[in-house]
Symmetry: C2
Subunit: 542 residues, 2 copies
């Protein structure tokens, strides 16, 4: 068989050759901009020579600090097809993390949306390796610094000669892109994607038992392009020839709903938060063409998915993964033996994380003993993952020992039970498990039970030290506006629902659960807040 | 990213782990046999140790001489997962070709269906490397030779210990399977498929804009498992978790129609001949669940596809490829810009060979000058193909110079025009083109026009030598039973339809067009038959 590399130039040339007439729509600050794949491809060819003009190293890191736009997609292709490494910076990170990441990755240039300059520019003097800032003018009324390092994106493209001929990346294991985990402990860690992993992952977004991206689709990635490659949707769309709608900077539920309706979007994807926000708007929008709502980033609440199914006939399609898994590892696709089940049972199944997609392998391992656990849907363990788009290490080998097994599997840090069909059901994060008297208490299960209380808006459960049991649960509860609730009522609500020894030793009421930059519960922040917590009436831990 | 090989053991373990409950049905000689993937997987594990017991070399060729059955699928996995090479022998080849192929491939063992023993056994003394014949008893009333080289499949499996643990193929470029082309010139040539090519090709059978194999599907491969891997359907089904129905030895249209109905088949695939035969039976069978009829091996007659669309609402899904392309290279999938076209235009489009599937690249090359030709749907040229499941050479390097370009592309030998969307329309085989006065005449186009005559059953056009023009066309025509037709009527029919200089110099009436072992027109046979043909009244070529 021919030794043809699995590399992004194939995806680029395929889109350029076969799908040049297909539209790319971006909602910019100053209105919608529509272009075609053919125009986009010509700009990608110009951008590739711009990177040469800016003297970006042959394998240099090309930072992006931008919204979801067609111009961001130009960078998604021009950087890897010209041999560079696309580095999507998360615009929601704290300044210290951004500075750390840009320096750690040794970004040589950062492409920044004009509307995001106020977030980025204050940091530039702390960026040690960035030589150029290229401003993509999205119409925002924001001053552009008068600085020799600053360039205008459109001016550079206009002055550039388009790269002629075929892009070639001969070794499919060449780095194509990188993304830093917004890890909750320690410094962010870089994950480097190869051309091979990017192409294989893009293929997986096309399979029938998955997102099933097709040339007939109009796809709107609401998930940010700096969030684990927007779950592979951009490369998948280019491979399939789907039309793409980019929401740009206005990511309010109102704006998203308007775009879904106006462009007759068929497939979209985003974290649960955006769909929660859009729920009240469903009645006012005709979303008939919508067939798939990919949802991930955190567990999809069953009630949310059911609300969508009841309102518009489309439940969430839950996918599970992480930056280290490119990110798609499992998808909760109903199977043929589920066809006859009652809708309530089908909803339970859809709320699971689902089976591994093709090419991904999972195993369930006891986090204490390291022993392989059975798939009986009861026994829980850490999920470990292997596959051609799963990380083998972090950039520059950091944190490696802890996160990767000796035989090369990724420790995902997610604790789950797996049923006999290989369907994953997450119960906790390994670091959030509470070890009480030698037995594990699942914090996520406790949280789910507390959040089922009608007066509770949010709840997070963390471990606090205990003299006798080593650790015991503390429930941090956010009460819905206008409601009142006591610790006793929370415990009384839990008593019929969980084992007696799982009952939290204390309940604290808080204003909100702190969140990470990608919207997940930050239990690290809670643990810091409640460090040295003393349960009234208990013996202090010494 | 992890260095995980793309290898068939992943497909095997995935099927075993997630789809063990799914059925495999085979229509054997003595009735239907139903098994599950779990039972099948256990037998694959036994079969792997049987190959050890039979002392098959670590990378030895394992011949199969069989129908489409679940037991053939055991060999499809046990051979490559244990490091051996599956070699599917075409049961329709001439004895001389079979002997040549088995010796050339150095098959060490041949697994043969009992019903096929009468074809195989007379040849065994000419097989130089085969040490064992394993008879798979399909219930046929055929004597089994009393010979020390002969073993019973079920007895071997029963005595074997199942291989325990995970199959491992560390290098994805390891040979997994091989198939010989039923080439129309010279000796058959071997194409060796790697684990990588087999897995990637299987993935392509899962994509939405293609066969879209799903766990919800019931798939019946009518295309033989010795015909270019049954177009990748067996490995695709195992990857997707589809149920499979195997038609076994009875491949009559009646039997196929009965199985499609009884097992509520959703996806099937086969050459045009079988669907032509089944056409009169459509009215008597409820084929409601059927959604896709893959059709390839030769061009799909537009009228056949339309008859199916009109009768059961399902036109043919035409795929083009060859043994050297694993085989899927293009698929004729309608695109979004075809949605508004009239049904007749859509039928025209479906009769094309279609766009390349992801990971396959095509180019159009003038067979004379070697220059790249434009995609204007008018200019024709040879299609050359590249991709990770396209052959780079023949086994033992035979015939290499002619069929592969210096830069590593496959010369497909098919002449086509390509439209601006990359959709292929075949017009001829390079070796069947007729070069008249320095210009090409497409034999297939002439044949199509002749076959449009209501009294013509079949027609083949070949080149005959000509003193002045070098080559001129000869039409070989089969008249429908009970009809009469003259050469003058054929020419008169063509005159308004083709350029004057394309008109055949002569018309010969024959009883039937000779066919190759896979049902294609054998123009080689016709050229032999009409070697030295002398057109009445023309100057003889010296």
């Amino acid at each position: 068989m021919q030794d043809r590399p699995l590399a992004l130039p194939h995806v680029f040339h395929r889109a350029e050759q076969y799908f040049g007439h297909k539209p790319l729509v971006t909602a910019e600050v100053d209105g919608e901009r529509t272009t075609t794949i053919a125009e986009w491809a010509e700009r990608v060819r110009r951008l590739a020579t711009v990177l040469d003009t800016l003297d970006v190293s042959a394998d240099g890191r090309v930072g992006t600090f931008g919204w979801n736009t067609a111009r961001h997609l130009e960078l998604y292709m021009a950087a890897p097809c010209s041999g560079r490494v696309l580095h999507t910076l998360n615009i929601r990170l704290f300044p210290e993390q951004l500075v750390y990441i840009a320096n750690h990755a040794e970004d040589e240039v950062v492409f920044v949306d004009r509307s995001l300059l106020p977030l980025l520019w204050p940091l530039v003097d702390r960026f040690e390796t960035v030589r150029h800032y290229v401003v993509i003018d999205d119409g925002a009324d924001v001053p552009v610094p008068d600085d020799p390092r600053v360039h205008d994106y459109e001016a550079l493209l206009a002055a550039a000669t388009p790269f002629a001929g075929d892009f070639v990346v001969a070794d499919e294991n060449t780095a194509a892109a990188m993304c830093y985990t917004s890890g909750t402990t320690g410094n962010p860690k870089g994950v480097v994607y190869s051309h091979r992993s990017a192409v294989l992952h893009a293929l997986i977004t096309l399979i029938a038992d998955g997102a099933a991206l097709s040339e007939h689709d109009v796809v709107m990635p609401v998930v940010p392009m700096f969030h684990a490659n927007a779950w592979g949707l951009p490369y998948g769309c280019l491979l399939a020839g789907s039309s793409i709608v980019f929401p740009g900077p206005n990511m309010t539920p109102q704006a998203v709903a308007r775009l879904l309706e106006r462009h007759r979007v068929t497939v979209t994807g985003g974290v649960p938060t955006i769909w929660m926000g859009m729920l009240p708007l469903l009645a006012d929008h005709d979303l008939t063409p919508l067939r798939t709502i990919l949802c991930g980033g955190s567990a999809v609440p069953r009630a949310l998915s059911e609300s969508y199914r009841e309102a518009i006939g489309v439940p969430m399609l839950h996918a599970w993964g992480m930056t280290e898994t490119s990110p798609i590892a499992t998808m909760s696709v109903l199977r043929s033996h589920h066809a006859e089940l009652a809708e309530a049972e089908r909803a339970d199944l859809r709320a699971r994380q689902g089976q591994p997609v093709p090419l991904v392998d999972l195993r369930l391992v006891d986090p204490g003993t390291g022993e392989i656990q059975p798939w009986d849907d009861v026994t829980s363990g850490e999920i470990q993952a292997a596959g051609p788009w799963i990380a083998a290490e972090y950039y520059r080998g950091e944190g490696g020992g802890a996160q990767f097994t000796e035989d090369g599997w990724l420790r995902t840090g997610d604790v789950a039970a797996v049923d006999r069909y290989g369907s994953v059901r997450l119960v906790d994060r390994t670091k959030d498990l509470i070890k009480s008297g030698g037995e594990w208490i699942g914090s996520v299960e406790l949280e789910n039970e507390i959040m089922a209380h009608p007066k509770v808006a949010e709840a997070a459960v963390i471990a606090i030290p205990h003299e006798k049991w080593v650790e015991r649960p503390l429930a941090c509860v956010v009460v819905k506006p206008g409601e009142t609730l006591t610790a006793e009522e929370v415990i009384a609500h839990l008593e019929p629902r969980v084992a007696k020894w799982w009952l939290p030793d204390a309940v604290e009421f808080i204003d909100e659960v702190p969140k990470t930059s990608v919207g997940k519960f930050s239990k690290k922040t809670l643990r810091e807040k409640f460090g040295g917590y003393q349960v009234p009436g208990q013996t202090p831990v010494t």
